[in-house]
Symmetry: C2
Subunit: 296 residues, 2 copies
């Protein structure tokens, strides 16, 4: 198994063992991290979306989209999403879920909200900036565990459309979305959508349950028939699930010393495999570790 | 179907119809393109990989990796890949195919070759440079229909690890790959691999047959059991297939006026949906159109 075994090392998160004094690998760095560098996911902002093959877990981003997040939580608590379906899977782009019949009422929740494409930032807010140039934004980095961008010129900050990010579908009007239709990114980051869509969170577990779905064959990846759709069995907030049924997850704080060390490790890979370390990293290529609390 | 219909426009390649004098959409631009802006794929450098659910078509890049491409063609003509399998699917990363038993002989082909991670460029070679900053390279753009990068400081050029690009697995030694094990990118561009792997081509049709496969549950997405693997029924060069059985494809020339127009359109989207056009584009976000020759 020489070749396959080596391929296990090839592209690995963990570096292959080096001959002497190897630089710390990602696995080493995480293993040595103090518990204080991790935060428990807030059960009030953690969503369990139950699909037939498993559970997709989404962390909401209330700092960036407070009104949309509150509205999505209201929709969840009304049972709005239960029994809806994944209606669209477009390769290298998005998975989208919605009411296929467009008949369900949003109840007491809002059908539409004012867009939350970006927001003013406070220089005192945690923002771990990347030193690397970015094609789309003046500055990129990480805030509250999410990939984000800032423009000091305008004083605005916004979430970036990286793999696994969750956004709000809307009509042509900027203020026409409300959260009743959502999508997750399953391809190369469509950064042209930044500041054009309200991003509300990130899939922290189970994205593969969506990214491996058959692609729809109609325009834009919509499924041709109802039978092709994946049903959404239920959507719940972690806070509304009995503690024994919750998945206790912790996320590495993106303003922690461990994250800073990991960033250095990922920007400049030093191991037996890499010959030309990039010395840079794209905001959407940085791992944002989330693990079982029990693994601490 | 208001919302879903609008979502058809949302994220669409084609802009929604604007009230008056809409800017040309991508569909408009391609429809108006002269046949001379397209090139037929070279049957000597087009690969048909037959999977149980359909055919993956790969265009090889002989300008960038002449020795690896020649070796892969030799392996194809020996039937080396026929009956091998997809052994690994790692979410947001790669699909990899190889001999699971590592017993097959490469025959008269080379088992390993000197790396072709980059090559000197000739300033007279077609290279459609992007004006946008890139995180990883001094300059990015397109050559021969492939996404690529250049560094005028070193005089080198190389292919970039965008979605669908095909590369050669190797061991720790730079010169330890030969093409017997290949992978395709199925996630956000892992650009840190640029200049660390010999890239040999791009999937131009059928990537969804690989990207929608179940993810492997072992480390790095390897499948746990042989039963989970997807068999590769056959791999052939288009030139070796009777003309009546070929898929006649044409690719938009990346040094054509149509491509330049399309680049402008994609960098700065002007339609009823986009509120904040990016004004930039990442080398891995640019569509590289390939279509049936009959569609011309």
């Amino acid at each position: 198994m020489t070749r396959l075994a080596t391929l296990l090392a090839f592209l690995a998160f963990a570096a292959t063992p080096a001959a002497a004094a190897p630089p710390a690998s990602m696995v080493d760095i995480l293993a040595a991290s103090p518990p204080s560098d991790w935060r428990a996911l807030d059960s009030e902002n953690t969503v369990y979306m139950q699909l037939p093959r498993g559970t997709v877990i989404i962390e909401l981003a209330p700092r960036f989209a407070p009104h949309h997040v509150a509205n999505i939580k209201a929709l969840i608590r009304e049972g709005y999403y239960d029994g809806l379906a994944i209606v669209r899977v477009q390769d290298d782009y998005v998975v989208q879920w919605a009411d296929p019949d467009e008949k369900r009422s949003v109840g007491a929740a809002a059908a539409t909200l004012k867009a939350e494409f970006d927001r003013p930032f406070d220089a005192a807010e945690p923002f771990t900036a990347l030193p690397d140039p970015d094609t789309y934004a003046a500055s990129t980095g990480f805030a509250d565990g999410f990939p984000a961008a800032r423009d000091p010129g305008t004083g605005k900050t916004w979430l970036t459309h990286c793999y696994g990010m969750v956004g709000v579908g809307r009509d042509n009007d900027a203020d026409s979305g409300g959260g009743a239709e959502l999508y997750a990114v399953i391809g190369h980051a469509p950064r042209q959508l930044d500041r054009n869509v309200t991003l509300v969170g990130r899939v922290v577990r189970g994205i593969e349950l969506m990214s491996s779905l058959p692609r729809g064959t109609e325009a834009l990846g919509f499924y041709k028939t109802a039978a092709e759709r994946t049903p959404i069995l239920s959507v719940k907030l972690a806070a509304d699930v009995p503690p024994k049924d919750r998945v206790d997850l912790v996320a590495l704080r993106t303003d922690s010393a461990t994250f800073a060390q990991l960033l250095g490790n990922r920007r400049f890979r030093k191991d037996d495999w890499y010959k030309t370390p990039a010395g840079h990293i794209d905001v959407c290529n940085m791992p944002l570790p989330v693990r079982d609390a029990a693994a601490k």
